[in-house]
Symmetry: C2
Subunit: 234 residues, 2 copies
């Protein structure tokens, strides 16, 4: 049992609350029973910590758990996981152009798994997927998604012969209910405030808009993405 | 300019961070430029507070703003509003059976406005709509929604001759894409963990499920609701 917050391993792992160290060590932390369960099933766990005695777990004191945790109320279990290597793309892709809100990214991952997306491709300026809040709102679904961070313009250019790219637009484009989906597709969604950037949307084959009450300025991006993914799924 | 947190009006309004006082005083607080703007346009503002000198605003010190605010980082503007009286129902209704997460309720209100819902009817055990987090994630759209809190079973029973009630079910029911919507409708969605309760769903005319990847347990309730509302909107 580890009771000292000065323990070398604890000190090292606690740094994983910062993106810089996650990227350097190629590891991240997940917290809580449900996420740890998903990680043990679908992820690669480096070390599993628990307040209580448990099989395959390193038992720690509540001070140590607090030191490792990024939450105000530390969990009873927590795991350090290896970042997953991305694999070859084998189906439909969701592209994220600068999404900023962790909760939005998490729920989008969950909807992407629900609607059979093979791979998520995120731009460099998208919120870090290994952020605690993202992982929590994804309900652990990140372990079931092929996730790639890259320059999405280069990605689209390299794939434009083999995939059909769709983007969203608040004002113009085909109404979603009229869209005939050609597969494999790449669906591009954008930032909470600014939408998809012009540099990216110019490469799309078709623009789509979701018809709505004109009094309403816009939908939350996670809602819009879920509606689109549901339409694109059969 | 008010600089003292001991000011009687400030002390009274600060209590509005608690549901008990909101219900008693029939008032609530909204925070930040965008929400205050929506309130001034579509709501009924009792008093408007600002850190800077502004037309129609009571100027306050940052200590007073902090006392009034429910946020870790207090806003530059804040307003006390009157709770809106509900009006007669004139169209389609969204029913909420025990929704608990403030962020989910806020985004659902936003999607409901976007997809032309006339009235939201929430059960007594639904999270309080005047909670700061709900108001923030609704992006001020609550001011454009007729919102009623009542016993939803009694509501359904009183309307079952004039409206068609649909409910969601993870396992059974008509696939959403096959649903032919009869208007006016009442769409019932449930709690994050438990879904729609049996006591409520038994009164629905039709059950709907959203087809998805069998590997995925469920969608976030706000995502599912947005997908349903989009389908029900034309």
């Amino acid at each position: 049992m580890i009771t000292s917050v000065q323990n070398e391993r604890v000190k090292e792992f606690a740094k994983l609350q910062m993106k810089k160290y996650r990227d350097k060590m190629h590891q991240f932390i997940i917290e809580g029973e449900h996420l740890v369960e998903e990680a043990l099933k679908h992820g690669e766990v480096v070390e599993f910590f628990s307040l209580e005695e448990r099989e395959n777990a390193t038992q720690v004191s509540s001070e140590v758990m607090k030191k490792l945790s990024g939450l105000t109320t530390p969990p009873t279990v927590l795991a350090v996981c290896k970042m997953m290597d991305s694999r070859e793309i084998k189906g439909n892709v969701l592209l994220l152009d600068g999404l900023q809100d962790p909760g939005n990214l998490g729920t989008i991952i969950r909807s992407a798994v629900a609607f059979g997306i093979d791979t998520i491709v995120a731009s460099f300026h998208t919120v870090d997927v290994y952020n605690t809040k993202v992982l929590r709102s994804s309900e652990g679904m990140l372990f079931r998604m092929n996730y790639i961070v890259t320059d999405i313009r280069d990605f689209i250019k390299s794939k434009e012969q083999e995939m059909t790219f769709y983007t969203t637009d608040v004002l113009e484009g085909t109404s979603l209910k009229e869209v005939k989906v050609k597969k494999p597709f790449g669906l591009i969604v954008g930032n909470e405030g600014a939408g998809v950037s012009d540099e990216v949307s110019q490469y799309a084959h078709e623009k789509i808009h979701i018809s709505m009450n004109p009094a309403c300025e816009s939908l939350n991006v996670a809602m819009a993405t879920s509606i689109l993914l549901h339409h694109f799924y059969e």
